[in-house]
Amino acid sequence: MKNGTSGKRMSFRQKTCIMVLSIYFFIAAFAPLIMPYEVTDFSHPSLAEPCRQYLLGTDEMGHDIFSLLIYGFRLTVCMALAAGFFSTLTGTVLAFCACYLGKAADHVITMTADLFIIVPEMVIVMFAAVFAEPTMINTELAIILFSWPRVYKIIRGKLKDCMNSSKVQYTMMMKGSIADVLQKLMPDIMPSVQTYFILQTNKAVTYETTLSFFGIGDPLAKTWGKLIRAAMDYENLYYDRVFLWYFIPVILVVVVFVVSLALLVHGGE
Protein backbone atom coordinates (compact mmCIF):
# COMPACT_ATOMS: atom_id res chain seq x y z
CA MET A 1 0.00 0.00 0.00
CA LYS A 2 1.46 3.32 -0.98
CA ASN A 3 0.95 6.17 1.41
CA GLY A 4 -1.39 8.89 0.39
CA THR A 5 -0.43 12.29 1.61
CA SER A 6 3.34 12.48 1.58
CA GLY A 7 3.84 11.38 -2.04
CA LYS A 8 5.68 13.76 -4.29
CA ARG A 9 3.16 13.71 -7.09
CA MET A 10 -0.47 13.27 -6.28
CA SER A 11 -2.74 11.44 -8.65
CA PHE A 12 -5.96 12.93 -9.92
CA ARG A 13 -7.83 10.63 -7.57
CA GLN A 14 -5.96 11.94 -4.54
CA LYS A 15 -6.42 15.55 -5.58
CA THR A 16 -10.14 15.01 -5.91
CA CYS A 17 -10.30 13.37 -2.51
CA ILE A 18 -8.37 16.18 -0.89
CA MET A 19 -10.63 18.75 -2.50
CA VAL A 20 -13.76 16.99 -1.24
CA LEU A 21 -12.28 16.64 2.23
CA SER A 22 -11.30 20.31 2.28
CA ILE A 23 -14.91 21.22 1.61
CA TYR A 24 -15.92 19.04 4.54
CA PHE A 25 -13.40 20.70 6.84
CA PHE A 26 -14.48 24.11 5.65
CA ILE A 27 -18.12 23.39 6.41
CA ALA A 28 -17.16 21.92 9.77
CA ALA A 29 -15.14 25.01 10.64
CA PHE A 30 -17.77 27.52 9.59
CA ALA A 31 -20.88 25.54 10.48
CA PRO A 32 -22.45 28.21 12.71
CA LEU A 33 -22.20 30.76 9.90
CA ILE A 34 -23.74 28.46 7.31
CA MET A 35 -26.59 27.20 9.46
CA PRO A 36 -29.73 29.27 8.95
CA TYR A 37 -31.16 28.24 12.35
CA GLU A 38 -29.98 27.02 15.71
CA VAL A 39 -29.84 23.24 16.23
CA THR A 40 -32.03 23.53 19.31
CA ASP A 41 -34.63 25.66 17.54
CA PHE A 42 -37.75 23.55 16.98
CA SER A 43 -40.19 26.38 16.51
CA HIS A 44 -40.69 25.64 12.83
CA PRO A 45 -43.75 23.89 11.40
CA SER A 46 -43.17 20.15 11.55
CA LEU A 47 -42.56 18.09 8.43
CA ALA A 48 -42.37 21.03 6.05
CA GLU A 49 -41.32 20.16 2.52
CA PRO A 50 -38.09 21.65 1.20
CA CYS A 51 -38.52 25.29 0.24
CA ARG A 52 -36.42 28.43 0.21
CA GLN A 53 -36.87 28.88 3.93
CA TYR A 54 -36.10 25.26 4.87
CA LEU A 55 -33.69 23.89 2.29
CA LEU A 56 -34.20 20.28 3.34
CA GLY A 57 -37.53 20.66 5.04
CA THR A 58 -38.12 20.09 8.74
CA ASP A 59 -38.39 16.98 10.87
CA GLU A 60 -41.39 15.83 12.86
CA MET A 61 -40.31 17.92 15.86
CA GLY A 62 -39.91 21.08 13.80
CA HIS A 63 -36.13 21.21 13.52
CA ASP A 64 -34.65 22.56 10.30
CA ILE A 65 -32.99 19.48 8.77
CA PHE A 66 -30.45 21.49 6.78
CA SER A 67 -29.18 23.15 9.96
CA LEU A 68 -28.92 19.78 11.72
CA LEU A 69 -26.99 18.35 8.81
CA ILE A 70 -24.52 21.24 8.72
CA TYR A 71 -24.02 21.09 12.46
CA GLY A 72 -23.43 17.35 12.06
CA PHE A 73 -20.37 18.23 9.96
CA ARG A 74 -18.82 19.95 12.90
CA LEU A 75 -19.61 17.18 15.40
CA THR A 76 -18.89 14.17 13.24
CA VAL A 77 -15.83 15.46 11.40
CA CYS A 78 -14.25 16.70 14.63
CA MET A 79 -14.95 13.54 16.55
CA ALA A 80 -13.76 11.34 13.71
CA LEU A 81 -10.51 13.29 13.37
CA ALA A 82 -9.94 13.18 17.11
CA ALA A 83 -10.67 9.45 17.30
CA GLY A 84 -8.43 8.82 14.30
CA PHE A 85 -5.63 10.89 15.77
CA PHE A 86 -5.70 9.43 19.25
CA SER A 87 -6.14 5.80 18.23
CA THR A 88 -3.24 6.12 15.80
CA LEU A 89 -1.17 7.85 18.47
CA THR A 90 -1.98 5.16 21.05
CA GLY A 91 -1.19 2.37 18.61
CA THR A 92 2.10 3.97 17.56
CA VAL A 93 3.25 4.78 21.08
CA LEU A 94 2.43 1.28 22.30
CA ALA A 95 4.18 -0.24 19.28
CA PHE A 96 7.25 1.81 20.09
CA CYS A 97 7.10 0.76 23.74
CA ALA A 98 6.76 -2.88 22.73
CA CYS A 99 9.75 -2.71 20.40
CA TYR A 100 11.94 -0.57 22.63
CA LEU A 101 11.26 -2.41 25.88
CA GLY A 102 10.99 -5.80 24.17
CA LYS A 103 10.31 -9.16 25.85
CA ALA A 104 7.61 -8.96 28.53
CA ALA A 105 6.11 -5.63 27.49
CA ASP A 106 6.02 -6.79 23.88
CA HIS A 107 4.25 -10.04 24.84
CA VAL A 108 1.66 -8.37 27.03
CA ILE A 109 0.76 -5.61 24.58
CA THR A 110 0.71 -7.93 21.59
CA MET A 111 -1.51 -10.39 23.43
CA THR A 112 -3.97 -7.62 24.27
CA ALA A 113 -3.91 -6.38 20.70
CA ASP A 114 -4.50 -9.92 19.44
CA LEU A 115 -7.52 -10.23 21.67
CA PHE A 116 -9.16 -7.14 20.24
CA ILE A 117 -8.32 -8.23 16.73
CA ILE A 118 -9.77 -11.73 16.93
CA VAL A 119 -13.05 -10.70 18.50
CA PRO A 120 -15.45 -8.45 16.61
CA GLU A 121 -14.13 -5.05 17.66
CA MET A 122 -17.48 -3.35 17.24
CA VAL A 123 -19.15 -5.48 19.91
CA ILE A 124 -16.60 -4.39 22.50
CA VAL A 125 -16.90 -0.75 21.49
CA MET A 126 -20.66 -1.02 21.81
CA PHE A 127 -20.40 -2.82 25.10
CA ALA A 128 -18.19 -0.12 26.59
CA ALA A 129 -20.33 2.66 25.17
CA VAL A 130 -23.54 1.16 26.59
CA PHE A 131 -22.18 0.72 30.09
CA ALA A 132 -20.61 4.15 30.28
CA GLU A 133 -22.59 7.33 30.77
CA PRO A 134 -23.98 8.37 27.38
CA THR A 135 -21.78 11.33 26.56
CA MET A 136 -19.83 12.21 23.42
CA ILE A 137 -16.54 11.89 25.27
CA ASN A 138 -17.30 8.37 26.47
CA THR A 139 -18.31 7.19 23.01
CA GLU A 140 -15.13 8.74 21.67
CA LEU A 141 -13.03 7.04 24.35
CA ALA A 142 -14.67 3.68 23.66
CA ILE A 143 -13.75 4.01 19.98
CA ILE A 144 -10.16 5.03 20.75
CA LEU A 145 -9.68 2.42 23.43
CA PHE A 146 -10.58 -0.50 21.19
CA SER A 147 -9.46 0.52 17.74
CA TRP A 148 -5.73 1.03 18.32
CA PRO A 149 -4.73 -2.65 17.99
CA ARG A 150 -4.91 -2.62 14.20
CA VAL A 151 -2.52 0.33 14.06
CA TYR A 152 -0.33 -1.27 16.68
CA LYS A 153 0.05 -4.50 14.71
CA ILE A 154 1.18 -2.80 11.51
CA ILE A 155 3.45 -0.20 13.11
CA ARG A 156 5.01 -2.82 15.36
CA GLY A 157 5.84 -4.91 12.29
CA LYS A 158 7.44 -1.90 10.62
CA LEU A 159 9.33 -0.92 13.77
CA LYS A 160 10.66 -4.46 14.25
CA ASP A 161 12.22 -4.27 10.80
CA CYS A 162 13.62 -0.80 11.42
CA MET A 163 15.01 -1.62 14.85
CA ASN A 164 17.38 -4.07 13.20
CA SER A 165 18.57 -1.55 10.64
CA SER A 166 22.15 -0.43 11.07
CA LYS A 167 21.40 3.20 11.87
CA VAL A 168 19.18 2.29 14.80
CA GLN A 169 21.50 -0.42 16.06
CA TYR A 170 24.32 2.07 15.87
CA THR A 171 22.39 4.66 17.87
CA MET A 172 21.62 2.06 20.52
CA MET A 173 25.28 1.06 20.65
CA MET A 174 26.29 4.67 21.16
CA LYS A 175 23.90 4.68 24.15
CA GLY A 176 21.55 7.06 22.44
CA SER A 177 18.50 8.16 24.43
CA ILE A 178 14.94 7.21 23.51
CA ALA A 179 14.65 10.52 21.71
CA ASP A 180 17.65 9.68 19.54
CA VAL A 181 16.25 6.29 18.62
CA LEU A 182 12.86 7.81 17.93
CA GLN A 183 14.46 10.40 15.69
CA LYS A 184 16.09 7.69 13.63
CA LEU A 185 12.88 5.67 13.39
CA MET A 186 10.50 8.49 12.59
CA PRO A 187 11.20 8.85 8.85
CA ASP A 188 10.61 5.13 8.32
CA ILE A 189 7.29 4.85 10.07
CA MET A 190 5.78 8.26 9.36
CA PRO A 191 4.18 7.27 6.02
CA SER A 192 2.39 4.31 7.63
CA VAL A 193 1.34 6.44 10.56
CA GLN A 194 -0.19 8.99 8.21
CA THR A 195 -1.98 6.32 6.23
CA TYR A 196 -3.36 4.81 9.40
CA PHE A 197 -4.48 8.16 10.70
CA ILE A 198 -6.69 8.53 7.63
CA LEU A 199 -7.95 4.96 7.81
CA GLN A 200 -8.72 5.25 11.49
CA THR A 201 -10.60 8.48 10.90
CA ASN A 202 -12.58 6.65 8.27
CA LYS A 203 -13.30 3.81 10.72
CA ALA A 204 -14.37 6.29 13.38
CA VAL A 205 -17.08 7.73 11.13
CA THR A 206 -18.42 4.24 10.47
CA TYR A 207 -18.28 3.43 14.17
CA GLU A 208 -20.00 6.61 15.21
CA THR A 209 -22.83 6.23 12.72
CA THR A 210 -23.26 2.57 13.59
CA LEU A 211 -23.27 3.28 17.33
CA SER A 212 -25.82 6.04 16.85
CA PHE A 213 -27.93 3.74 14.72
CA PHE A 214 -27.94 1.28 17.62
CA GLY A 215 -29.08 4.11 19.88
CA ILE A 216 -25.80 4.46 21.76
CA GLY A 217 -24.21 7.76 22.68
CA ASP A 218 -25.31 11.23 23.71
CA PRO A 219 -28.87 11.63 22.42
CA LEU A 220 -28.48 15.39 22.33
CA ALA A 221 -25.33 15.49 20.19
CA LYS A 222 -26.84 15.59 16.72
CA THR A 223 -24.16 13.79 14.75
CA TRP A 224 -24.87 12.36 11.31
CA GLY A 225 -25.49 9.01 12.93
CA LYS A 226 -28.14 10.49 15.21
CA LEU A 227 -29.78 12.13 12.24
CA ILE A 228 -29.90 8.81 10.38
CA ARG A 229 -31.36 7.12 13.41
CA ALA A 230 -33.93 9.90 13.86
CA ALA A 231 -34.96 9.55 10.22
CA MET A 232 -35.27 5.78 10.49
CA ASP A 233 -37.32 6.12 13.68
CA TYR A 234 -39.82 8.35 11.94
CA GLU A 235 -42.51 5.83 11.10
CA ASN A 236 -43.82 7.40 7.92
CA LEU A 237 -40.38 7.84 6.40
CA TYR A 238 -41.07 5.13 3.87
CA TYR A 239 -44.54 5.98 2.72
CA ASP A 240 -44.23 9.32 1.00
CA ARG A 241 -41.37 11.36 -0.37
CA VAL A 242 -40.07 12.46 3.03
CA PHE A 243 -37.04 10.19 2.82
CA LEU A 244 -35.77 12.20 -0.15
CA TRP A 245 -34.86 15.14 2.08
CA TYR A 246 -34.88 13.60 5.54
CA PHE A 247 -32.82 10.51 4.87
CA ILE A 248 -30.94 10.60 1.55
CA PRO A 249 -28.91 13.82 2.08
CA VAL A 250 -27.37 12.69 5.34
CA ILE A 251 -26.57 9.28 3.89
CA LEU A 252 -24.89 10.90 0.90
CA VAL A 253 -22.87 13.15 3.17
CA VAL A 254 -21.61 10.18 5.18
CA VAL A 255 -20.89 8.05 2.14
CA VAL A 256 -18.97 10.77 0.28
CA PHE A 257 -16.88 11.43 3.38
CA VAL A 258 -15.90 7.81 4.06
CA VAL A 259 -15.31 7.07 0.39
CA SER A 260 -13.01 10.09 -0.04
CA LEU A 261 -11.04 9.10 3.02
CA ALA A 262 -10.71 5.52 1.81
CA LEU A 263 -9.69 6.44 -1.73
CA LEU A 264 -7.17 8.97 -0.50
CA VAL A 265 -4.93 6.22 0.82
CA HIS A 266 -5.85 3.05 -1.04
CA GLY A 267 -5.12 1.62 -4.39
CA GLY A 268 -3.18 3.19 -7.21
CA GLU A 269 -0.19 0.84 -6.95
Binding site: I118, V119, P120, V123, F131, A132, N138, A262
Partner: protein, 324 residues
Protein backbone atom coordinates in the same frame (compact mmCIF):
# COMPACT_ATOMS: atom_id res chain seq x y z
CA UNK B 1 7.33 -27.09 15.46
CA UNK B 2 6.02 -30.65 15.84
CA UNK B 3 2.28 -31.07 15.39
CA UNK B 4 1.22 -31.90 18.95
CA UNK B 5 3.29 -29.12 20.46
CA UNK B 6 1.91 -26.60 17.99
CA UNK B 7 -1.65 -27.61 18.81
CA UNK B 8 -0.94 -27.36 22.53
CA UNK B 9 0.61 -23.93 22.08
CA UNK B 10 -2.39 -22.67 20.10
CA UNK B 11 -4.83 -24.05 22.66
CA UNK B 12 -2.97 -22.42 25.56
CA UNK B 13 -2.90 -19.10 23.72
CA UNK B 14 -6.63 -19.17 23.15
CA UNK B 15 -7.38 -20.26 26.70
CA UNK B 16 -5.48 -17.20 27.92
CA UNK B 17 -7.48 -15.03 25.52
CA UNK B 18 -10.67 -16.62 26.79
CA UNK B 19 -9.73 -15.78 30.38
CA UNK B 20 -9.00 -12.21 29.25
CA UNK B 21 -12.46 -11.99 27.66
CA UNK B 22 -14.14 -13.14 30.88
CA UNK B 23 -12.09 -10.64 32.90
CA UNK B 24 -12.96 -7.82 30.52
CA UNK B 25 -16.64 -8.63 30.49
CA UNK B 26 -16.54 -8.67 34.27
CA UNK B 27 -14.33 -5.65 34.86
CA UNK B 28 -15.37 -3.24 32.13
CA UNK B 29 -18.93 -2.62 33.41
CA UNK B 30 -17.50 -1.94 36.85
CA UNK B 31 -14.68 0.34 35.74
CA UNK B 32 -16.52 2.63 33.37
CA UNK B 33 -17.60 6.00 34.67
CA UNK B 34 -21.30 6.30 35.41
CA UNK B 35 -21.89 2.56 35.19
CA UNK B 36 -25.14 1.09 36.51
CA UNK B 37 -23.43 -1.11 39.08
CA UNK B 38 -21.99 1.86 40.94
CA UNK B 39 -25.30 3.59 40.73
CA UNK B 40 -27.13 0.60 42.17
CA UNK B 41 -24.65 -0.03 44.94
CA UNK B 42 -25.22 3.45 46.32
CA UNK B 43 -28.37 3.73 48.41
CA UNK B 44 -31.25 5.76 47.09
CA UNK B 45 -29.84 5.65 43.59
CA UNK B 46 -31.82 7.24 40.82
CA UNK B 47 -32.37 3.81 39.31
CA UNK B 48 -35.01 2.60 41.75
CA UNK B 49 -37.31 5.43 40.76
CA UNK B 50 -37.92 4.47 37.15
CA UNK B 51 -36.86 0.83 37.11
CA UNK B 52 -39.38 -1.89 37.85
CA UNK B 53 -38.81 -3.62 41.18
CA UNK B 54 -38.64 -7.10 39.61
CA UNK B 55 -36.00 -5.95 37.14
CA UNK B 56 -34.00 -4.40 39.92
CA UNK B 57 -34.25 -7.60 41.91
CA UNK B 58 -33.00 -9.85 39.12
CA UNK B 59 -30.27 -7.35 38.39
CA UNK B 60 -29.13 -7.39 42.00
CA UNK B 61 -29.42 -11.14 42.25
CA UNK B 62 -27.11 -11.54 39.27
CA UNK B 63 -24.52 -8.85 39.92
CA UNK B 64 -24.73 -8.76 43.73
CA UNK B 65 -23.19 -5.29 43.88
CA UNK B 66 -23.11 -5.37 47.68
CA UNK B 67 -20.45 -8.12 47.79
CA UNK B 68 -16.71 -7.41 47.70
CA UNK B 69 -15.30 -7.37 44.16
CA UNK B 70 -13.40 -10.68 44.30
CA UNK B 71 -16.51 -12.48 45.53
CA UNK B 72 -18.47 -10.89 42.72
CA UNK B 73 -15.92 -12.24 40.30
CA UNK B 74 -16.08 -15.80 41.70
CA UNK B 75 -19.81 -15.60 41.53
CA UNK B 76 -19.64 -14.47 37.93
CA UNK B 77 -17.28 -17.27 36.93
CA UNK B 78 -19.38 -19.81 38.79
CA UNK B 79 -22.47 -18.62 36.96
CA UNK B 80 -20.65 -18.84 33.64
CA UNK B 81 -19.52 -22.38 34.44
CA UNK B 82 -23.19 -23.29 34.77
CA UNK B 83 -23.96 -21.48 31.50
CA UNK B 84 -25.92 -18.94 33.48
CA UNK B 85 -25.61 -15.55 31.81
CA UNK B 86 -28.33 -14.03 33.93
CA UNK B 87 -31.85 -12.89 33.17
CA UNK B 88 -32.37 -10.30 30.46
CA UNK B 89 -33.54 -7.05 32.01
CA UNK B 90 -35.64 -6.28 28.96
CA UNK B 91 -37.06 -9.64 27.90
CA UNK B 92 -37.19 -11.07 31.47
CA UNK B 93 -36.05 -14.49 30.21
CA UNK B 94 -32.63 -16.16 30.49
CA UNK B 95 -30.03 -14.40 28.34
CA UNK B 96 -28.46 -17.57 26.98
CA UNK B 97 -31.82 -18.91 25.82
CA UNK B 98 -32.49 -15.68 23.92
CA UNK B 99 -29.04 -15.62 22.36
CA UNK B 100 -29.28 -19.23 21.24
CA UNK B 101 -32.64 -18.76 19.58
CA UNK B 102 -31.39 -15.58 17.89
CA UNK B 103 -28.21 -17.31 16.71
CA UNK B 104 -30.38 -19.77 14.78
CA UNK B 105 -31.29 -16.89 12.48
CA UNK B 106 -27.94 -15.15 12.48
CA UNK B 107 -25.66 -18.08 11.74
CA UNK B 108 -27.26 -19.18 8.45
CA UNK B 109 -27.45 -15.59 7.27
CA UNK B 110 -23.84 -14.74 8.09
CA UNK B 111 -22.26 -18.04 7.10
CA UNK B 112 -24.06 -18.34 3.76
CA UNK B 113 -23.26 -14.74 2.87
CA UNK B 114 -19.67 -15.23 3.98
CA UNK B 115 -19.22 -18.37 1.89
CA UNK B 116 -20.85 -17.00 -1.26
CA UNK B 117 -19.19 -13.60 -0.82
CA UNK B 118 -15.80 -15.22 -0.35
CA UNK B 119 -16.09 -17.47 -3.40
CA UNK B 120 -17.41 -14.70 -5.66
CA UNK B 121 -14.93 -12.15 -4.28
CA UNK B 122 -11.92 -14.40 -4.68
CA UNK B 123 -12.93 -15.47 -8.18
CA UNK B 124 -13.43 -11.84 -9.15
CA UNK B 125 -10.13 -10.79 -7.57
CA UNK B 126 -8.14 -13.57 -9.19
CA UNK B 127 -9.62 -12.94 -12.60
CA UNK B 128 -8.94 -9.22 -12.17
CA UNK B 129 -5.37 -10.06 -11.31
CA UNK B 130 -4.97 -12.33 -14.32
CA UNK B 131 -6.78 -10.08 -16.78
CA UNK B 132 -4.98 -9.02 -19.93
CA UNK B 133 -3.20 -5.66 -19.90
CA UNK B 134 -4.17 -5.42 -16.24
CA UNK B 135 -7.66 -4.25 -17.11
CA UNK B 136 -8.83 -5.60 -13.76
CA UNK B 137 -7.13 -2.71 -11.98
CA UNK B 138 -9.95 -0.44 -13.19
CA UNK B 139 -12.28 -2.24 -10.82
CA UNK B 140 -10.11 -1.70 -7.74
CA UNK B 141 -11.23 1.84 -6.97
CA UNK B 142 -14.98 1.17 -7.24
CA UNK B 143 -14.51 -1.88 -5.03
CA UNK B 144 -12.58 0.11 -2.44
CA UNK B 145 -15.21 2.82 -2.46
CA UNK B 146 -17.92 0.23 -1.98
CA UNK B 147 -15.99 -1.34 0.86
CA UNK B 148 -15.83 1.97 2.72
CA UNK B 149 -19.61 2.41 2.83
CA UNK B 150 -21.07 1.19 6.14
CA UNK B 151 -23.15 -1.93 5.49
CA UNK B 152 -26.11 -0.83 7.54
CA UNK B 153 -26.53 2.27 5.36
CA UNK B 154 -26.70 0.10 2.26
CA UNK B 155 -29.23 -2.07 4.06
CA UNK B 156 -31.31 0.94 5.07
CA UNK B 157 -31.34 2.29 1.52
CA UNK B 158 -32.17 -1.09 0.04
CA UNK B 159 -34.97 -1.48 2.54
CA UNK B 160 -36.53 1.80 1.49
CA UNK B 161 -36.09 1.40 -2.23
CA UNK B 162 -36.46 -2.32 -2.89
CA UNK B 163 -38.74 -3.35 -0.05
CA UNK B 164 -40.97 -0.37 0.79
CA UNK B 165 -41.06 1.36 -2.58
CA UNK B 166 -40.82 -1.33 -5.22
CA UNK B 167 -42.18 -4.05 -2.90
CA UNK B 168 -39.89 -6.69 -4.40
CA UNK B 169 -39.02 -8.05 -0.99
CA UNK B 170 -40.67 -8.16 2.43
CA UNK B 171 -39.36 -5.22 4.47
CA UNK B 172 -39.14 -6.55 8.02
CA UNK B 173 -38.89 -9.76 10.02
CA UNK B 174 -37.94 -13.32 9.17
CA UNK B 175 -41.42 -14.71 8.56
CA UNK B 176 -44.82 -13.24 7.86
CA UNK B 177 -46.51 -12.68 11.24
CA UNK B 178 -48.89 -15.53 12.03
CA UNK B 179 -46.98 -18.00 9.90
CA UNK B 180 -46.03 -21.06 11.97
CA UNK B 181 -43.22 -23.55 11.50
CA UNK B 182 -44.40 -26.58 9.59
CA UNK B 183 -47.27 -24.80 7.90
CA UNK B 184 -47.29 -25.19 4.09
CA UNK B 185 -45.35 -22.36 2.50
CA UNK B 186 -43.37 -21.67 5.68
CA UNK B 187 -40.06 -22.54 4.15
CA UNK B 188 -40.67 -20.42 1.06
CA UNK B 189 -41.75 -17.57 3.30
CA UNK B 190 -38.54 -17.79 5.33
CA UNK B 191 -36.46 -17.79 2.16
CA UNK B 192 -38.34 -14.80 0.82
CA UNK B 193 -37.62 -12.83 3.98
CA UNK B 194 -34.02 -13.91 4.01
CA UNK B 195 -33.33 -12.96 0.40
CA UNK B 196 -32.73 -9.22 0.68
CA UNK B 197 -30.54 -9.25 3.84
CA UNK B 198 -28.60 -12.13 2.36
CA UNK B 199 -28.00 -10.36 -0.96
CA UNK B 200 -26.84 -7.18 0.81
CA UNK B 201 -24.45 -9.12 3.01
CA UNK B 202 -23.04 -11.08 0.09
CA UNK B 203 -22.43 -7.91 -1.90
CA UNK B 204 -20.83 -6.37 1.16
CA UNK B 205 -18.46 -9.32 1.51
CA UNK B 206 -17.24 -9.23 -2.08
CA UNK B 207 -15.04 -6.08 -2.28
CA UNK B 208 -12.58 -6.81 0.53
CA UNK B 209 -12.10 -10.38 -0.69
CA UNK B 210 -11.76 -9.29 -4.31
CA UNK B 211 -9.25 -6.52 -3.61
CA UNK B 212 -7.23 -8.80 -1.39
CA UNK B 213 -7.23 -11.64 -3.93
CA UNK B 214 -6.31 -9.15 -6.66
CA UNK B 215 -3.27 -7.91 -4.76
CA UNK B 216 -2.10 -11.41 -3.86
CA UNK B 217 -2.49 -12.52 -7.45
CA UNK B 218 -0.49 -9.56 -8.66
CA UNK B 219 2.23 -10.36 -6.18
CA UNK B 220 2.44 -14.03 -7.08
CA UNK B 221 2.25 -13.27 -10.80
CA UNK B 222 5.50 -11.34 -10.57
CA UNK B 223 7.28 -14.09 -8.63
CA UNK B 224 10.27 -15.66 -10.41
CA UNK B 225 8.84 -19.19 -10.40
CA UNK B 226 5.82 -18.06 -12.40
CA UNK B 227 8.00 -16.30 -14.96
CA UNK B 228 10.12 -19.43 -15.17
CA UNK B 229 7.07 -21.60 -15.68
CA UNK B 230 6.19 -19.48 -18.70
CA UNK B 231 9.67 -20.05 -20.17
CA UNK B 232 9.23 -23.77 -19.69
CA UNK B 233 6.10 -23.59 -21.84
CA UNK B 234 3.85 -24.98 -19.16
CA UNK B 235 0.28 -24.43 -20.29
CA UNK B 236 -1.44 -21.25 -19.13
CA UNK B 237 -4.16 -23.20 -17.44
CA UNK B 238 -1.66 -25.20 -15.44
CA UNK B 239 0.25 -22.11 -14.45
CA UNK B 240 -2.91 -20.53 -13.19
CA UNK B 241 -4.09 -23.52 -11.23
CA UNK B 242 -0.84 -24.89 -9.87
CA UNK B 243 1.44 -21.89 -9.67
CA UNK B 244 -0.71 -18.88 -9.07
CA UNK B 245 -3.91 -19.99 -7.36
CA UNK B 246 -2.18 -22.52 -5.16
CA UNK B 247 0.25 -19.90 -3.93
CA UNK B 248 -2.29 -17.27 -3.04
CA UNK B 249 -4.28 -19.70 -0.90
CA UNK B 250 -2.24 -19.34 2.33
CA UNK B 251 -2.57 -15.55 2.06
CA UNK B 252 -6.29 -15.82 1.46
CA UNK B 253 -6.70 -18.23 4.32
CA UNK B 254 -5.60 -15.59 6.81
CA UNK B 255 -7.99 -13.14 5.21
CA UNK B 256 -10.90 -15.55 5.39
CA UNK B 257 -10.20 -16.07 9.06
CA UNK B 258 -10.81 -12.40 9.76
CA UNK B 259 -13.83 -12.38 7.46
CA UNK B 260 -15.41 -15.33 9.25
CA UNK B 261 -15.33 -13.41 12.50
CA UNK B 262 -16.43 -10.12 10.97
CA UNK B 263 -19.35 -11.57 9.01
CA UNK B 264 -21.24 -12.00 12.29
CA UNK B 265 -20.90 -8.28 12.89
CA UNK B 266 -22.02 -7.33 9.39
CA UNK B 267 -24.95 -9.67 9.71
CA UNK B 268 -25.93 -8.08 13.02
CA UNK B 269 -26.05 -4.59 11.47
CA UNK B 270 -28.18 -5.71 8.57
CA UNK B 271 -30.48 -7.68 10.88
CA UNK B 272 -30.99 -4.63 13.03
CA UNK B 273 -32.16 -2.68 9.98
CA UNK B 274 -34.57 -5.37 8.84
CA UNK B 275 -35.76 -6.23 12.37
CA UNK B 276 -34.63 -9.75 11.56
CA UNK B 277 -34.98 -11.76 14.78
CA UNK B 278 -31.27 -12.54 15.06
CA UNK B 279 -28.45 -11.30 17.27
CA UNK B 280 -28.54 -7.90 15.59
CA UNK B 281 -32.04 -7.07 16.76
CA UNK B 282 -31.16 -8.45 20.16
CA UNK B 283 -28.14 -6.17 20.30
CA UNK B 284 -30.15 -3.18 19.13
CA UNK B 285 -32.77 -3.71 21.81
CA UNK B 286 -30.13 -4.39 24.44
CA UNK B 287 -28.38 -1.14 23.53
CA UNK B 288 -31.55 0.96 23.33
CA UNK B 289 -33.03 -0.31 26.60
CA UNK B 290 -29.67 -0.59 28.35
CA UNK B 291 -30.19 -4.28 28.95
CA UNK B 292 -26.85 -4.85 30.68
CA UNK B 293 -27.04 -8.59 31.20
CA UNK B 294 -27.93 -9.07 27.55
CA UNK B 295 -25.04 -6.85 26.41
CA UNK B 296 -22.66 -8.89 28.53
CA UNK B 297 -24.08 -12.12 27.17
CA UNK B 298 -23.75 -10.99 23.56
CA UNK B 299 -20.19 -9.83 24.20
CA UNK B 300 -19.23 -13.18 25.70
CA UNK B 301 -20.87 -15.26 23.01
CA UNK B 302 -19.44 -13.25 20.09
CA UNK B 303 -15.97 -13.27 21.68
CA UNK B 304 -16.26 -17.01 22.21
CA UNK B 305 -17.22 -17.36 18.57
CA UNK B 306 -14.22 -15.24 17.53
CA UNK B 307 -11.85 -17.31 19.63
CA UNK B 308 -13.28 -20.59 18.36
CA UNK B 309 -13.04 -19.50 14.73
CA UNK B 310 -9.44 -18.35 15.15
CA UNK B 311 -8.46 -21.56 16.91
CA UNK B 312 -9.98 -23.68 14.16
CA UNK B 313 -8.29 -21.66 11.44
CA UNK B 314 -4.95 -21.80 13.21
CA UNK B 315 -5.13 -25.57 13.65
CA UNK B 316 -6.23 -26.16 10.08
CA UNK B 317 -3.76 -23.62 8.72
CA UNK B 318 -0.88 -25.54 10.29
CA UNK B 319 -1.96 -28.66 8.44
CA UNK B 320 -2.44 -26.62 5.29
CA UNK B 321 1.08 -25.27 5.19
CA UNK B 322 2.65 -28.57 6.27
CA UNK B 323 1.08 -30.52 3.45
CA UNK B 324 1.99 -28.11 0.71
Amino acid sequence: MPGAKRVLYAVIKYVILLVLVVVISFALPRLLPGNPLDALAGEGSGYSGNTAASVLKSFEAYYAPELPVHEQFFRYVKNLAHFDLGISLFYKTPVLERIMSAARWTLPLSLISFAVGAVLGILLGVSMGLSKKNRGSLLVLPLLAWQAVPTFLVAALAQILLAYRLKWFPAVGAVTPGMLAGQPGYFADVLEHMALPLIILMIAEIPSNAVFAYHSTQKVKKAPYVAFAYYLNISRRNIRLHYIIKNILPDLWGRLNIQTVMCIMGSMFVEAVFSYPGLGSLLKNAASYRDYTMMQGILLVTCLYGIAVNLIYELVLGRFTRNS
